[in-house]
């Protein structure tokens, strides 16, 4: 091997060594971490706390509501015939809503065991309404749209047959034989932790006027609420 060739090879070897050293240096001083994530629509309905039963005769709360627990209230409204001399049997059920998106609360109801004559208690004899208050400052700003007329014991009158009629549209369970919206609005919660207690609490009021209904020993009224993200 000539001296010139030896010199070239030596130069190439040194250059390769330097390049490898440079590459090795870059691999030790940089790096990357790539994260992906999702924020899903979140809507939640739970109990807003204890229910309130008034005007009842012989009724009672069988399974009460517990704040922030699944809503599964069971109530015996008691006597709904004329021996109950109260103006209304009234049940107020607090609903607790949370969301990070616009929501819609809907309800579907049924009345069973009341009989089938014109004098039997019907779904239109069960008044219903929500009474949401303005959102407090610790919630996302927004206005909720109440599709009900509010407290069903306000207003109302007797019809041409003398039977009590609740005032306004969507004021009885007759409007909810199929699922229908009762409340909707923009996102409820601000960007707070999931364990934040902030929520929108809305009383749901059910009311029945004691009347000369057909005797019925076991009437069952069921209301199922569902909240969805819009």
């Amino acid at each position: 091997m000539s001296k010139a060739t030896k010199g070239i090879l030596t130069t190439l070897a040194i250059s390769a060594l330097l390049m490898m050293s440079a590459v090795a240096t870059f691999g030790q001083t940089t790096g990357s971490v790539t994260m992906t994530a999702t924020v899903s629509n979140f809507v939640e309905l739970t109990s807003g706390g204890a229910v309130t039963l008034t005007g009842n005769s012989g009724g009672s709360i069988i399974t009460d509501g517990t704040a922030n627990s699944p809503l599964a209230v069971v109530v015996n409204l008691g006597e709904l015939g004329p021996s109950n001399t109260n103006s209304f049997v009234k049940l107020s059920v607090p609903l607790r809503l949370r969301s990070n998106v616009a929501y819609q609360l809907s309800m579907v109801t049924s009345v069973a065991g009341a009989g089938a004559t014109s004098f039997s208690l019907k779904d239109t004899d069960v008044g219903f309404g929500l009474t949401p208050a303005a959102r407090p400052a610790n919630l996302a700003a927004g206005v909720d749209t109440n599709a009900t007329p509010g407290d069903p014991t306000v207003g109302g009158s007797t019809d041409a047959n003398g039977r009590w009629v609740f005032a306004g549209a969507n004021s009885t369970l007759g409007a909810y034989a199929v699922s229908g919206a009762v409340l909707s609005g923009p996102r409820i919660n601000q960007a707070v932790a999931a364990n934040s207690a902030t929520n929108l609490t809305v009383p749901a009021i059910f009311a029945i006027k004691p009347q000369f209904y057909d005797p019925a020993p076991a009437i069952t009224i069921t209301a199922q609420f569902t909240v969805v993200a819009l």
């Binding site: 309905l45 809503l71 599964a72 749901a204 000369f212 057909d214």
Partner: protein, 232 residues
């Protein structure tokens, strides 16, 4: 490098699964279940003021008040021959309400200080229910069955016994002897439509009591009548 990619993929998958489980855990439905009862309801009250006619020295001691409990007290006055009227008659309005078929029964007692066959007895006190009225908002139309013969003073309901000369109420259930124990006087279908109790209407019917002044044995007489309404 392939190992690093695998670990990253595994972590991402785990994160997504945890996220999905968290979302599924939220509660979006709830139920309110209510039970209730409508019991049979029957009610009897006063239908208003009592009308006393043909009396001599009598008077209404405690009058009836519409929609108040029935507890009238009446002094029929003189029932002997010094009372020259044809009959001493007390008309007592009754008011019934129900959310079911009803039966109105009556039990009566007649006690007299007399001791002979000429004393006033239950058979000497005529009784009957008058025309039933189902009128007013919220009152159900229906046909009632009057088990009495109506106004006991009607000529068809009594006459002088050809043998004894004593006036007798002879028609079916036309005097209190037919009610020595609780006996049905009126019955019918549901009275009220599905209306609030505050609706003041109902079925009204006058109850007639009549005594023919006669040569009864002198003494004092107490006539007690109890009406009871039930839902069979």
């Amino acid at each position: 490098m392939p190992r690093t990619t695998f670990i990253r993929s595994l972590l991402l998958t785990t994160l997504l699964v945890v996220s999905a489980v968290t979302c599924l855990g939220q509660s979006t439905t709830g139920t309110v279940t209510m039970s209730a009862t409508v019991s049979k309801f029957v009610e009897i009250n006063s239908g208003g003021a009592v009308t006393l006619t043909g009396n001599s020295g009598g008077g209404v001691t405690t009058d009836g008040v519409t929609n108040s409990p029935l507890a009238v007290a009446i002094n029929l006055g003189e029932l002997g021959p010094s009372n020259t009227n044809s009959f001493v008659t007390a008309q007592v309005p009754l008011k019934l309400r129900s959310n079911a078929a009803y039966v109105l029964s009556m039990a009566a007692t007649v006690t007299s200080s007399g001791t002979t066959a000429s004393r006033i007895t239950a058979a000497d006190v005529g009784f009957g229910l008058g025309t039933v009225s189902r009128t007013g908002l919220g009152v159900n139309s229906g046909s009632d069955t009057n088990a009495t013969s109506g106004d006991p003073t009607l000529a068809a309901n009594g006459s002088v016994n050809g043998t004894t000369g004593r006036y007798e109420f002879t028609a079916v259930r036309s005097n209190l002897s037919a009610f020595s124990s609780a006996t049905t006087a009126l019955s019918g279908p549901i009275i009220m439509n599905a209306v609030p109790r505050s609706n003041a209407n109902g079925l009204t019917v006058p109850a007639f009591f009549a005594v023919k002044p006669q040569f009864f044995e002198n003494g004092t007489t107490t006539i007690s009548v109890t009406f009871t309404v039930t839902a069979p």
